[in-house]
């Protein structure tokens, strides 16, 4: 079964990627909000294997950098000071999954900080910020799409199964939500909220907003499936035997929708991660100094950053493997679920 292996492969890739993000405290070398004011806009340090004397080292190393005198952001490598990269060495304290305290990091250097992806305006490590930022962005995407699908599932089931005025009301409401200019609504909403939103509240706000905005499409999808499923013979038969509405929905109708919902989830998560990035980019997301992919990118709103510091674009690249993983998973799931329905469902999921 090639297809099944496909799904597993994609799941494995995603699991590895998420593992890195989930264990951010370990995989990131530094605290993402710690400023190193001596090294603003430091370009990424290149790991070397061969030193200036053409000697090969098995352990990768970076050269220490020094600010060129009289400049603000021009650095030169000091080839007299190699800094070997060490693995599993102690550093800043962190909590893994909010539970275990630890000090060990995947890599680092003994005497000095290494910045493999450079630093931002305050000398904060870009790599650590990208890894920690992923926690916010991916979790927002994940929770947002779960909530969306849950709402969509319920609304779609009620609407499709009971029909009549309930269907009318719910579907008109769904259309209303589809038609709303939600970005502007968000700005308006932000203006009504209290001035200071702490990062946790801001995060849940984003999740709620994503779910609130997105439920209409999956709801319509589920409704279509329920509509066709409730007329199937085995459903009629079950009803004839006296099954209750709830039993029918739970046992016979909604399972029909589950594979569609899984595919939907795989498509929605990257979409929602992107939506979170958009919101944070526009300043509606988690506030500084907490990193998220969106507010890391918002530095690029400044022209000078855009043209001077190419490594500030890297957060945008970070999401690419995740998106590929999710989209690959989505298509594998789609193939697996029902080869004869590929066409219809891909249309549905694109709609």
């Amino acid at each position: 079964m090639i297809r099944r292996r496909n799904v597993r492969l994609w799941l494995l890739i995603l699991a590895i990627l998420h593992g890195i993000i989930l264990c951010a405290g370990f995989s990131a070398p530094y605290d993402p909000i710690q400023q190193d004011r001596k090294n603003p806009y430091l370009p990424p340090m290149r790991p070397h294997f061969v030193d200036v004397g053409r000697r090969l080292h098995l352990r990768p190393f970076v050269y220490a950098v020094q600010l060129r005198p009289g400049t603000f952001d021009q650095y030169v490598e000091d080839t007299t000071q190699p800094r070997p990269l060490k693995f599993f060495l102690p550093g800043d304290r962190y909590r893994l999954f909010g539970l275990f305290q630890s000090r060990f990091h995947l890599f680092g250097a003994d005497s000095d900080r290494v910045y493999l992806l450079g630093t931002d305006a305050f000398g904060r490590d870009q790599l650590s910020r990208i890894i920690f930022g992923g926690q916010i962005s991916l979790l927002a995407g994940f929770l947002g799409s779960c909530l969306t699908l849950l709402i969509g599932w319920c609304v779609g089931a009620v609407s499709g199964y009971f029909g009549g005025w309930r269907d009318d009301v719910l579907m008109r409401l769904a259309e209303l939500f589809l038609a709303l200019p939600w970005l502007y609504l968000l700005f308006a909403l932000r203006a009504f909220l209290p001035l200071t939103v702490n990062p946790l509240h801001a995060f849940f706000l984003i999740v709620a907003v994503l779910a609130g905005v997105g439920w209409a499409r999956p709801a319509r999808l589920v409704r279509g499936i329920v509509l066709s499923a409730k007329e199937r013979d085995f459903v009629r038969a079950a009803r004839g035997f006296g099954a209750s509405n709830f039993y029918l929905l739970r046992r016979h109708i909604l399972p029909e929708a589950s594979s569609v919902l899984l595919t939907q989830a795989a498509i929605l998560i990257p979409q929602y991660v992107l939506a979170e990035m958009t919101l944070s980019f526009l300043g509606l997301g988690v506030p500084e100094p907490v990193p998220s992919w969106g507010n890391l990118l918002s530095n690029l709103q400044q022209y000078s950053v855009l043209v001077s510091y190419w490594w500030m674009y890297l957060p945008a690249l970070a999401m690419v493997p995740f998106f590929l993983g999710y989209l690959g998973l989505a298509s594998a799931l789609q193939e697996r679920s029902d080869p004869y329905m590929i066409e219809r469902r891909s249309l549905g999921s694109l709609a």
Partner: protein, 599 residues
């Protein structure tokens, strides 16, 4: 051949007639010229002699609101009005000293109460109408009229009484003060003399506030500045043309300005200004941020950027010290208890890493400050003002003295708490459109974290920020910046006085809330009527020292004035006072004689 003598005689008469005619013409012209010369007293400016002609393009961050000096409140309108209008006495932006302008000379009576100004003769508005003492009287009548609501009115009320203006003759005007006025003749800078012939009707109808929109017909608007209105294209540009009646000339007697057109392009923001300048669409740029400055200086391509040194902008942090009365929530009351504690504010000031702000926000193109008088203001800085270096130990000691203590939280971080055991948490507002100040706030956030304070930075759109600070007063702390428009500290009088609208930490008080604010009020009032610079300086120094002691404003840094111009622009001398690059617009010229087409 016999005819010849007769012909000659006839010709001779004709020649004589012609000669006489030419002589008469010449004489008439000469007399006329003489009369003109005696009538028109041009002000001769030193400086490089330029070439006439050409169009110079600069950009503005958005459209100016109005051309009317009586209602202009935004910087863009003031910039445009600055090149269309003129004042009686002008502050030279380079020397920061006063110079004759429309008034060729002035005398101050020995008691300092009477200023007698003598106008230049032969002055004309940009529409060719003559200007005399009646226009000056009209102008000040308009400024002082309460119904006009002119922002200039406050400046003209000295000791609670408006300045009395009377005319001695067509060229002489006398200004009478009821109290000596320390600012002296600097007062007249920026007070545009208005054309009575165009505005009197609207003034009588009480409609002066409604005229002068950008769409005004060019022949309905006039001024005494170097340029006059030509064309306005909504959303795109404002085109001004040379005022042929302008009253200044260069060293070789050429009438200024050199440029035949000055164009203001409207662009949405600072980055767009940089892009337009880089692409050659604009000839000059000012108010550059340090980051954009370094972008431009890295790829200098037919243009030069220059650093004019620290300017008059000062950036500071302040806490909400307003008396909120009943409407304050218990939480706000608790916060204000900290904010009102002098040692708390001193601790925040001691923890602020000003050096890092200068380096990280301004890339070293700025100066750390500890007082309200910005370093660009050479004459008024207080050398004795304490400038303590950053010290977290001192900050901690101060907090301890004020009854604060530290606890270690569950995550191992030490957090500050007040005497009631409540965590010290507050938010700092910044303007979301100002990247520099947002960065400052982020640095402060980290500085204060080291004291165990939990600070959130809240970027807000500038207008709603201002609304919160001055109207609703719903905020904890705020990072803001003010740019003084003059090197005389009286331009910041509304920041100093407790009754002032920009006394930001507690604006527009009926009575000063604290003894030290009372003392500052007294000092400022006293210096207003002090006669000599030394007296005033002493009083101001004392006021600065009080401010430094009580830290209602925690001064942070002052950026350099950074500007740039194409190499083809002559007489480009950026100043640290507004308008940074257009202050000598009449002397600006294009070296290639108007061939400044976009690259």
């Amino acid at each position: 051949m016999r005819d010849r003598p007769g012909t000659f005689a006839r010709h001779w008469i004709l020649v004589r007639l012609l000669l006489t005619f030419f002589a008469l013409c010449f004489l008439a012209a000469f007399i006329h010229a003489q009369q003109n010369n005696s009538k028109e007293e041009l002000l001769t400016l030193p400086g490089e002699i330029g070439r006439s002609g050409g169009r110079l393009v600069v950009s503005l961050r958005g459209e100016p609101k109005t051309l009317n000096p009586l209602i202009a409140a935004d910087a863009r309108s003031r910039e445009v009005i600055g090149v269309m209008q003129a004042d009686l006495i002008h502050i030279n932006r380079a020397t920061q000293l006063t110079e004759p302008a429309l008034a060729k000379s002035w005398k101050v009576s020995t008691d300092g109460l009477t200023y007698t100004l003598v106008l230049r003769t032969g002055l004309k508005f940009s529409d060719g109408q003559p200007m005399d003492a009646d226009d000056v009287l009209f102008t000040f009548r308009v400024y002082l009229d309460e119904n006009t609501h002119a922002p200039q009115r406050d400046l003209l009320i000295v000791g609670g009484k408006p300045i009395a203006v009377r005319k001695l003759d067509a060229q002489t005007v006398v200004f009478q003060f009821t109290k000596p006025y320390g600012v002296g003749e600097r007062l007249f800078d920026g007070l545009a003399i208005l054309p009575r012939h165009l505005l009197e009707k609207s003034f009588q109808e009480g409609k002066l506030g409604q005229i002068g929109s950008l769409g005004t017909a060019a022949n309905q608007w006039a001024g005494l500045g170097p340029f006059r209105l030509k064309e306005y294209v909504a959303g795109q540009r404002l085109v001004l043309e040379r005022n042929p009646y302008y009253w200044k000339s260069d060293g070789s007697g050429n009438r200024l300005p050199y440029l035949s057109e000055l164009v203001f392009l409207f662009v949405p923001n600072a980055d767009a200004q940089v892009l337009k300048f880089q692409s050659g669409e604009t000839d000059m740029i000012s108010q550059l941020g340090a980051e954009n400055f370094s972008v431009l200086s890295r790829q200098q391509n037919g243009y030069t950027v220059s650093d004019a040194g620290p300017g008059l902008e000062y950036n500071f942090l302040f806490f909400n010290l307003n008396d909120l009365g009943e409407k304050a929530s218990p939480e706000m009351q608790r916060k204000q208890k900290w904010f009102r504690e002098v040692k708390f504010r001193q601790a925040v000031s001691a923890a602020a890493d000003r050096e890092a702000i200068v380096r990280l926000v301004y890339q070293g193109r700025g100066a750390a400050i500890w007082g309200l008088v910005a370093p660009g203001n050479k004459r008024w800085g207080d050398a004795n003002l304490p400038r303590p270096p950053r010290s977290l130990d001192r900050a901690r000691a101060l907090l301890k003295e004020a009854g604060f203590s530290w606890t270690t939280g569950s995550n191992g971080e030490s957090t500050l708490q007040d005497s009631d055991g409540k965590l010290v948490e507050f938010s700092i507002l910044t303007s979301s459109s100002n990247a520099d100040r947002s960065k400052m706030a982020a640095l402060l956030q980290d500085d204060l974290k080291q004291l165990g304070m939990r600070v959130q930075v809240v970027p807000l759109e500038f207008r709603s920020l201002l609304d919160r600070v001055t109207q609703s007063k719903e905020y904890d702390a705020c990072v803001m910046g003010v740019a003084s428009y003059d090197a005389d500290p009286n331009s910041d009088i509304n920041v100093w006085l407790s009754s002032g609208g920009t006394h930001l930490w507690n604006p527009s008080q009926a009575h000063p809330a604290t003894p030290w604010e009372t003392e500052i009020d007294h000092l400022i009032e006293e210096q207003l009527s002090a006669r000599t610079f030394d007296q005033r300086k002493k009083l101001y120094d004392r006021a600065q020292e009080i401010l430094a002691e009580y830290q209602p404003m925690i001064f942070l840094a002052s950026p350099d004035i950074l500007a740039g111009a194409k190499n083809s622009v002559g007489n480009f001398h950026p100043a640290v006072l507004e308008p940074y690059i257009l202050w000598n617009v009449e002397q600006l010229f294009l070296k290639n004689g108007g061939e400044n087409a976009p690259r």
